[in-house]
Amino acid sequence: MIFVSALTYRHVDLLISSSKSVAHSYKVTVEIEQLYTNIKDLELERRNYLLVKNKNLIQNIADLKKEITKNIIRIEFLTKDNLKQKLLLKKLEVLVNEKFKIVDETVNHDVPLTVDDIEGNLLSGKMVMDKIKIFIRIMLANEKKLLTERTAKNSNITDTTPAIIYITLFSTIAIITMAFVKISRDLEEMRQKNEQLALNNESNHLTEQIGDFGTWYLNLETNEYTFSENEYRLLGLKPYAFEASLEGFLKYIHPDDLSYVKDIILKMITKDKVVPFTYRVIRADGSLRYLRGNGKIVANKSGEKILIGTTSDVTDEVLTNQAIEERNRELEANNKELQTFNYVASHDLQEPLRKIQTFISRLVDKDLDSLSENGKQYLLRIQDSSQRMRVLIDDLLKFSRANKTEQIFEKTDLNEVLDNSKLELAQIIEEKKAKIINDKLPNLNVIPFQVQQLFTNLISNSLKYSQENVAPIIAINISKVDASEEDSIPVNEKNKYYKIIFKDNGIGFDSEYSEKIFLLFNRLHNKDEYSGTGIGLAICKKIVENHKGFIFADGEINKGATFTIYLPQD
């Protein structure tokens, strides 16, 4: 647009100056012609004077001279920037002065002239006049040429003027149209963006409400706060219930947490160090809520530092955690009590029982013979019962030891462990003429004494529940398996297991009981038939669980029992 205006202005300016110069050329021409006329008149008047010597003519001559001088001055002024004309004018001026001299001589000559004189005078006058005429013509010709040039130029400019104006007009219209299209397109884009923004804003509000959190900004440059709608709701207020400010927010913070929160906010602002922090607020309705704040300092486009913060309601989380902690404490206390109970059961009960047994042993040794038959029976039954109690207490002690959590895993040769178990049971193995056939076992990371206990319990179980008059045979087989191949065990990150199978040819059991068999104090047989406390297999299960493994039992009455153990390979 500016370009178009400049172009137009320049064109109009050109037009004006060109017209001016045309007018100027006309003026010069007119002036020159007038000068020539005046000179011719002067010559005429001189001739007249020569002939008639009328005094009135002298005045006319003086007037013409004055007029001619004026003419020359005017021409001089008009042609001041035309060097050519100026030079011509100078020469013309000399001739004019010569002419004036002739005229003056004529006027001042009082003596009457002879005919010859007059003839000579007229001749000289004519000669000067001719010269003047030539100069005038040259000047006029010059000026005419100039005029032609200027007129051509002017008409040229004049011709292009409408075109220029039309071009200007059209280009202006085009530019305005383009601008209009662009503006309306921008407006459309802006409208869409605004819509998107409004949508985002709305979704932000919704997200904040659903997620129970709010956001706030602090412009660190201007110290101005902005709170989101939900930031107010977190305090139990309507959105924008008060002007966003730190003081306004702090009013709702629990008095005990106030200095802590102030401290954190100060740290956020001054040290640029922000960590999540939890504090309590008392809502407008007086209810207590737990909020968690977090923030980050960012710079906006104009380089201002802005602290963006979020506040979320974590009351449920905090309360749940508190409940869990409470439960944990209870469990820990219960566990401790249980441990104490175990210690009492296994340790303190041993002492009186040991004494009872010692006294009984002395009585049996020394005084059995002096008792009546009934008395003897009673005493022996007391001895049996106390012995049974001893076994129970010992087993309970073992069970409570298997329960202990702080156990050390060591790389252990399981063959050695099995040998120890066999050694432990050597006497009964020999008595029953039992055979134990086992695969070579691997080295494994285990709690050695517990695995020995496990093996001992399983073998002694097989020996205990052997069929009458059949030598027990216990087969121990091992294989590497993948959890995914085994139906009985869940697939988890510990995928590789050793599968150890203890299989015997004993009395077996109804597979209906394969799970119950592992429960503490659970017995499938009358204690008069088979001695047992119902603790042994519970200990086995505990030990296998301690090793992150699995144990299963399967049986068939009078055919035998199978115990399958899975232990992680690593």
């Binding site: 340790h347 041993q350 002492e351 029982l353 040991r354 004494k355 047994q357 010692t358 042993s361 002395r362 040794d365 001893r390």
Partner: protein
């Protein structure tokens, strides 16, 4: 043995256990002089007296009031005068912790109190007739706990 009899002390707060102990030695027919203390304080007072006859073997119960067996063990092992005393821990408990701790502290053997009088006699007879010089040189954590 240079002396005619072995000097034996039992420190145990339990009256029945003291009785079983002395009765067992009475029946054992080994020439011993058995002395008992009712608790750790009484034991240490006796040992620390200048003119006391120091025992060849000291049987030390762990669970005693005022000064328990472990404390006595520490004090005894801290005094060079008692270097020659063989210390047998004599306790109802056979917990790993107790066995480990007393072994580290330098006791010579760990006996779990038996619940049969005849067994008690066997254990005591074994302990007092053992060649301690030989036993101590080969002592390790596994044979520290006495098993019949």
């Amino acid at each position: 043995m240079e002396k005619e009899y072995m000097h034996i002390i039992l420190a145990d707060d339990d009256e029945d256990d003291r009785m079983f102990f002395t009765d067992a030695f009475d029946e054992l027919k080994i020439s011993t002089k058995v002395q008992t203390c009712n608790d750790g304080v009484e034991l240490m007072n006796y040992l620390n007296k200048e003119d006391s006859i120091l025992p060849n073997v000291l049987f030390l119960d762990l669970n005693m009031p005022m000064k328990n067996g472990i404390e006595c063990l520490h004090e005894i092992k801290a005094d060079r005068r008692f270097d020659d005393i063989v210390i047998a821990i004599y306790s109802t408990s056979s917990s790993e912790e107790h066995i480990e701790e007393t072994f580290i502290c330098g006791a010579n053997i760990y006996i779990k109190k038996p619940s049969d009088f005849n067994e008690l006699k066997r254990v005591l007879s074994y302990v007092v007739t053992l060649n301690w010089q030989y036993h101590t040189s080969g002592l390790n954590k596994d044979n520290f706990l006495f098993r019949m």
